[in-house]
């Protein structure tokens, strides 16, 4: 569990993973610094980035420096000013076409080499499956039945990508609904996650630590809270860390209601359903049990255990009036024990 002190005045967030509660340490101390060079790609890319910045910086100074110098030197003095008849200069024009062209080709080749490397995962990479859907990431490991999650600040639960230090990892990604994009800034990797196909991204983590993951393809209301945490651990700790993060069972000292709240957050129900009575993408869970809801088809229903269960497994069967049918099904993901606890938790939301 990561637990950093609240870095920002804490309004009560209502997001899936409210960005201010993700709890990852700041990636850099000042905007001038580069991000941590936490993967093999980051190290090689940063050299190119610095080179680009140097060349572009010099170009800017030369162009704008010349402009400012001319502004000073050739400013209007009197109506008798005579100006140069210069209209062109073949050698100069060839030079300022050819020199940039050479630099551009260097950038192209260097960038292309890095890109090809980023697109070619080694054969021995560890395979991890990533699924995007509005608005959460699901991260699954081979041989584990549960997706991995971690508790972050304020009892929020974030998807958790655990990777071992120094070993190549390949993410095979797809989406259940619209296009998302999986971006780990500290690793300098990003790839769109497209429904109906698999995309892959690979990296070797080279720095221990905890880093944020962003969705970078706009995907609707809670796009900005579609976050995750990536943690780089020592190879010998990897297996245990994955096992610890892929369990969602009621603890011995946990009540059903407490466990239910964990289920509620783990499956990111709070991306769309608040507990404070305000409507978001779906109806609020505050006082929902026993409430009479008007349905989109004109009928009405009293919310009970069976309606909740049905709405989780077949979300679009009975949609409350005023909301759009866009909830994904959780059939096959939430088991009976978790369902019972979730309903127990919902009953406490009065």
């Amino acid at each position: 569990m990561i637990n950093f002190s609240m870095m920002f005045h804490g309004q009560l967030g209502m997001l899936g993973v409210p960005p201010e509660k993700l709890g990852t340490p700041p990636m850099s101390d000042s905007p001038w610094q580069l991000l941590p060079s936490a993967s093999n790609h980051a190290a090689s890319l940063d050299n190119l980035y610095v080179f680009l910045t140097a060349v572009c910086g010099v170009s800017f100074v030369v162009v704008i420096g010349a402009m400012v110098w001319f502004m000073y030197k050739y400013k209007y003095k009197s109506d008798k000013d005579r100006t140069s008849p210069l209209t062109h200069n073949g050698k100069l024009e060839f030079g300022w076409s050819a020199i940039p062209a050479v630099f551009l080709m260097v950038f192209f080749v260097w960038g292309e080499v890095g890109f090809v490397n980023m697109s070619s995962p080694p054969a021995d990479a560890i395979d991890i499956r990533v699924t995007g859907e509005k608005w959460k990431w699901t991260i699954e490991y081979p041989g584990r039945s549960m997706a991995s999650t971690i508790e972050v600040e304020g009892g929020e639960v974030a998807p958790y990508l655990i990777v071992p230090l120094g070993q190549p990892v390949r993410l095979t990604m797809t989406s259940k609904d619209v296009i998302h994009s999986f971006y780990i800034p500290a690793f300098r990797v990003k790839k769109d996650v497209v429904p109906g196909r698999y995309s892959t991204v690979w990296f070797t983590a080279i720095e221990e630590g905890t880093f944020p993951v962003f969705c970078t393809e706009y995907c609707g209301d809670e796009h900005s809270s579609m976050l995750a945490v990536v943690k780089v651990v020592k190879p010998e700790e990897y297996k245990a860390a994955v096992e610890a993060a892929t369990v969602l069972e009621q603890g011995a000292s946990e009540t059903a209601e407490q466990f239910g709240e964990k289920v509620f957050k783990t499956f990111a129900c709070n991306s769309c359903h608040t507990v404070d009575g305000s409507a978001k993408v779906g109806p609020s869970f505050k006082g929902v049990v026993g409430r009479t809801e008007n349905l989109a088809d004109g009928s009405s229903i009293v919310v009970d255990e069976n309606y909740i269960r049905e709405s989780i497994y077949q979300p679009n069967a009975k949609v409350v009036a005023g909301f759009t049918p866009q909830m994904p099904t959780f059939a096959g993901q939430i088991n009976d024990e978790q369902m019972n606890a979730l309903i127990a938790y919902m009953k406490t939301l009065k």
Partner: protein, 546 residues
Amino acid sequence: MSKSKETPAAKANAPEPSYLTAKSGLMSWLVTVDHKRIGLMYLAATLFFFLVAGLLAIALRTELYTPTQDFMSAATYNKVFTLHGAIMVFLFIIPSVPAALGNFILPLMLGAKDVAFPKLNLLSFYIYCIAAVMLVTTLFLGSLDTGWTFYTPYSKSTGTAVIMATMGAFVAGFSSILTGVNFVVTVHKMRAPGMTWNRMPLMIWAIYATALIQVMATPVLAITLFLLIIERTLNIGIFDPALGGDPVLYQHFFWFYSHPAVYIMILPGFGIISELVTVHSRKHIFGYRAIALSSVAIAVISFIVWGHHMFVSGQSELAGIVFSFLTFAVAVPTAIKVFSWVATLYGGSIRFNTPMWYALVFLWTFTVGGLTGVYLGTLSVDVHLHDTYFVVAHFHYVMVGGTVVAFIGGLFHWWPKMFGRMFNETAGKISALLVFIGFNTTFMTQFFLGHQGMPRRYYAYLPEYEVMHQVSTIGSWILMVGLFTVLGTLLHAIKYGAKAPSNPWGAVSLDWQTASPPIEHNFHDTIHVTGSPYDFPEIDKSGAHH
């Protein structure tokens, strides 16, 4: 027009009413076929939408002042950034320079009485109006939350008014096509005697290249949006993976139009800058041929670089590599232009009036915009920067720092011609300073946000980005004050400005060889062109200043 019985001398001396006063009444505007009046109607309409979309941007920046939600819900934020983008692109930037300023200037610069098809010109204005009404109507149909790019499958599944909005963009495209056709024919057929292609002002070259792109690329947008509409209504499975479609195909179609469209937005700005740096430094343009041909080169290459918007989309790596190479190819003609404008200043007699200040601001901001484009064209670097604030900053440096700054400079430059009034120079210079400071504060910061990993289109963000967002937001407020100063200065000039002479800047191009404001038919007599539009009397032909 005066009666024909008078002697030629008397006729020339008779004060002929200007295009503004020749006819009066609302109908004289609504059914006018005068390119100057149509240009002004476009100008009023595009500036109105610039104001609307600009205020939306201020709302966005203000919401982003803190990392958490302030006064807009996530859903509202998404609608506001979508409308900001869609209105700015389809209702402001695309028609701003070509249809508003270009309409007014093009026939004057060519020495023509009007565009080739004046009625078609009026029709394209009304089509634009219909499109505008349709886009505004989306506000009452649940608004729009897809981003201005309408990416599938999100745009297929969202509950907002996608069909009305895409129909609006579809219709706006026809306005753009008709304007393009009209201008291409006008440039080919309506040049004054003696105005060879090599004697055309560079503004005309730029408008011509733009018109070519408008005619060739816009139909692709129309087809794409039409496919999206039938996908939504008939579920035929072109883009929706659930029906066997390919969502990335939509991106290929969309950018096949929208990348050339970026040049529809910036090329006319290049044209304006070529006029401003020459007239106000009393110098012949440096490298006329290179600038003219690079406009055409950019227009051609712009059609084969669309894939650089899609390096991480899942298109093939080989495609990514080819598109990256072609993207660098388009950087060369762009660099040539910037170098040529700076070289034009050499040996000049630079007048630091308001239009010139905007041209100099343009050179700064566009150079930044161009150089940061090089980062994004570099494959591996783009993987990191794609869909971050770096892209937002780059795009705004080109579109606002480039096109909008050039547009404002052009407005100040041609305002005396349009309305026959001079503006207040001091106010104009203050506006340029405020725009320069506000713009750079807003968007320079966003490059840093981008390289620090801040994604686009987030209404809430990690606390570590807060300080940079606050600087950017404060910059946007300064920029807003600067732009309102522009508006105030220009409107003040119409009512209270000193009367403008016919050629206040001492320009040589034909648009200044008629009264300010021009007479209804532009020129009394056919003008014969004998030389370059940049042959200023101050130029020392003896070569002493070479």
